[in-house]
Symmetry: C2
Subunit: 165 residues, 2 copies
DNA sequence: TTGGAAAGTCAACAAGGCTGACATAAAGTC
DNA sequence: GACTTTATGTCAGCCTTGTTGACTTTCCAA
């Protein structure tokens, strides 16, 4: 009773139909969300996996492999394949840890940053135009729902990224 | 302090940092979004592709293969592999068209509906709890941003589904 | 000094995308 | 009636990106 405030009316946004529309909205929107970067990646013989690695290395430069692994939620074999390609192609630099020499700290090279820019420019452009179309209040709601949909560990990682800025 | 419009207009929600956080939120949220169904599908030796087919056949019973193809945005070879498995396993029924006998109309069988229920119950549960946690206004914003992020054709399809109810 | 953590690598496999080629049946057209 | 187009299905082969399992090297720390 406390929950939906408005008297007896309207938990309308919780009807089965509304929830299913939400599910479909996520599906279609995610396709749009990845469409622009995908087009760019094609020209570089890279895929979404490379994009994700590039994105998070850019966001937390110097991150270790293990840390990246837990953010991306894949196996090290999977990540390693992608990482090796990026390192071989000179987009990512892997520096041996100073304090702990077992660790590798990952950085984007200039070339890597250039690609990162191209990818994020494209993706941000769509985001920006969507944000602009709906206004700040909707954006706040958008972010709130997304955050509430995450697994708790993912939410923790999400909050951790760049909060140190 | 009033959220969006501090001082001179504040397009603060359009800063690079905000946009990147939005991108990351989509990434982490989508993982949560698919996590519950994925667990169920494992036990059935199905994947996300099967889930999507089941979902949209349930939403528009009697849909043709071609229509499903354009909703899912994959090739017929890809869809066919998935569809064949579902038909062979007795979850989907394919009926020859009455008006046009070239067409196949797709329906979920009782078994198919049972699995669909299990999948959507899991996914809706997460959706519902997220919606409930943030309230109706945030949900409206959420849906608005998602819709604005879609490609135009996807948006058209999105709106078409179930509007006839 | 030894156990265990971080990283890397090899091999094999599966899902689910893709392209290209080709087959069939039914509709539609001239 | 012959021809073309459409809807569907299927075979074969390829790619990306995920998985498991086994094994090595390096090196920190107790």
């Amino acid at each position: 009773m406390i929950e939906g405030r408005q008297g007896g009316e309207s938990l309308l946004f919780l009807t089965d139909e509304q929830l299913r529309k939400g599910i479909e909205a996520m599906f279609f929107a995610y396709r749009g969300f990845t469409a622009d970067p995908d087009r760019i990646l094609e020209n570089h013989a890279y895929g979404r996996a490379h994009h994700r690695a590039i994105h998070f290395i850019n966001r937390t430069p110097g991150t270790t492999v293990n840390n990246l692994l837990s953010i991306l939620g894949v196996t090290k074999q999977s990540l390693n394949r992608v990482l090796r390609a990026l390192i071989d192609d000179g987009l990512v630099e892997s520096r041996v840890g100073v304090r702990d020499k077992r660790e590798r700290h990952l950085f984007l090279t200039d070339t890597g940053q250039t690609l990162e820019r191209a990818l994020s420019d494209a993706q941000c452009a769509r985001m920006r135009s969507a944000y602009r179309a709906v206004g700040p209040d909707a954006v706040v709601g958008f972010r709130q729902v997304l955050e509430a949909m995450m697994d708790p560990e993912a939410r923790t990682q999400f909050k951790k990224i760049k909060e140190e800025t």
